[in-house]
């Protein structure tokens, strides 16, 4: 239950940060570090549960709600797919340190964009996302990858703190 609350709070904070201070604090122009994606990858790697699946979907849904140009369900689809991909590959990937989460997040970012582009092409056929999208994906993926170790480390600390609290005192 405590763990569940931790991820609810983390998800809430991530969305709040992405929609407010990050754009002001980081001089990155239109780029917003995709903390929600990092959280989604963390859930996929460390929490293979139905709750984590729903959490990933909810993260994507929140991004859709707070992105006016986005179609409802677009990011929810991408995040669900990222979770699934990370979950399926988690048996082969051994993320032994927070630092090694960076490449996983980097590739997850590409999966997310591939999913977004796929839905765009199939359902929406929006023009103007051709060559420029590649540059955006690369920067987006690198930003998320750079921030991933720090966020993984924070989440792991929070998790171990909660687990220590749960252990009986001998």
């Amino acid at each position: 239950m405590r763990l569940f609350l931790l991820f609810i709070v983390a998800g809430f904070l991530v969305v709040l940060l992405q929609t407010t201070v990050l754009r002001h604090l980081l001089p990155l122009g239109r780029f917003v570090p995709d903390l929600a994606l990092v959280l989604c990858v963390y859930l996929g790697l460390n929490h293979p549960t139905v709750g984590a699946v729903v959490g990933s979907f909810a993260l994507g849904y929140s991004v859709d709600v707070f992105s006016a140009g986005g179609v409802l369900g677009l990011n929810a689809f991408a995040f669900s797919l990222v979770f699934l991909a990370v979950y399926l590959s988690s048996r082969a990937i051994w993320v032994h340190s927070s630092l090694s989460s960076a490449p996983v997040v980097f590739f997850a970012s590409w999966i997310k964009v591939a999913a977004l582009q796929g839905v765009w092409t199939l359902f929406l056929a929006t023009e103007g996302l051709g060559a420029g999208a590649l540059k955006y994906t690369l920067v987006d993926a690198m930003l998320a990858a750079v921030l991933a170790p720090g966020i993984f480390s924070l989440l792991k600390r929070g998790q171990s703190y909660l687990e220590e609290m749960r252990m009986p005192v001998l």
Partner: protein, 277 residues
């Protein structure tokens, strides 16, 4: 069956979520949008925090600026800056009026003020995604802000309201590739659509090859889209390129407003589209 679901519960639930997402996306293919009962609740939940964070960020920024400059100089700076903004708006109005007079449009009473009923709003949040450029306003339907209304600042066009709840409104910024504003060039009176682009920044689309555009020429709203009043500054032409093929020329623009730095905006009601002269 039940044991299969239990065994593969993560996979099954993931597939269900993927299918649910596609179910949510599907209406967009027809240009429709599905009713979203959860979105407004999420926005309402996060709104106080966004307002609080914005106040803290804004306050911190102000303290920092005040620290850097002497109080008197800072006040003088603010006064001069707002004066520049007023003069810029005035200059744009005069240029537009001059162009209009030259074309003997005697009956036109060019509006120097925004239409009655304009609503002042503050930006309290940004888009959560790099892929969409939007902002969240602190005013909604209960304040008279509705879907389809134009959003402007003193410097020019900012975007368009694409959805509104009772207390908030989402604005698709002019820099977003999905946006579109009907514009006229101030001197040559060429028409086109200004939209965002991921590749180069904002561009003006659908400008005929025969039009003679100049770099530095100003773009103003045409008023024909029924969203923005006529004559609001949108930006200036930064690059014109006529390729060896195609019906249209390629035009890059510099926007008058930097939407990423905007804090206060006016939400305006458009006027019915007028016949093109």
């Amino acid at each position: 069956m039940l044991s299969f679901v239990r065994r593969y519960q993560v996979l099954v639930s993931s597939f269900l979520c993927v299918l649910l997402s596609l179910y949510l996306v599907a209406p967009a293919a027809k240009g429709e949008s599905r009713a979203d009962p959860i979105g407004p609740i999420l926005i309402a939940l996060i709104r106080p925090f966004q307002t609080g964070v914005r106040a803290v960020v804004s306050g911190t920024k102000n303290v920092y600026q005040g620290y850097l400059a002497l109080i008197g100089l800072s006040a003088e700076n603010d006064r001069l800056r707002s004066h520049i903004v007023e003069l810029e708006a005035e200059r744009n109005r005069l240029l537009e009026a001059e162009a209009t007079n030259k074309r003997l449009r005697e009956l036109m009473d060019f509006r120097t003020e925004l239409p009655a009923g304009s609503i002042t709003a503050s930006v309290i949040g940004n888009s959560a995604s790099t892929w969409f450029n939007s902002v969240l306003l602190d005013k909604g339907t209960s304040h008279g802000v509705n879907k389809g209304m134009g959003v402007v600042s003193l410097m020019g066009v900012v975007g368009q309201v694409v959805s509104a709840t009772s207390k908030n409104a989402k604005v698709l910024l002019i820099t977003d590739p999905h946006s579109g504003v009907d514009v006229l060039t101030q001197q040559s009176r060429a028409r086109g659509i200004v939209t965002g682009s991921l590749e180069t920044g904002p561009i003006m689309k659908y400008v005929k090859r025969s039009e003679d555009l100049q770099e530095g020429e100003r773009l103003v709203t045409s008023g024909l889209d029924g969203i923005f009043p006529k004559g609001l500054l949108v930006g200036t032409i930064s690059k014109v390129q006529k390729k060896s093929f195609g019906l249209f020329q390629y035009v890059e623009i510099n926007l008058a407003v930097d939407p990423s730095r905007i804090e206060e905006v006016l939400v305006v009601r458009g006027q019915p589209a007028q016949a093109q002269d």
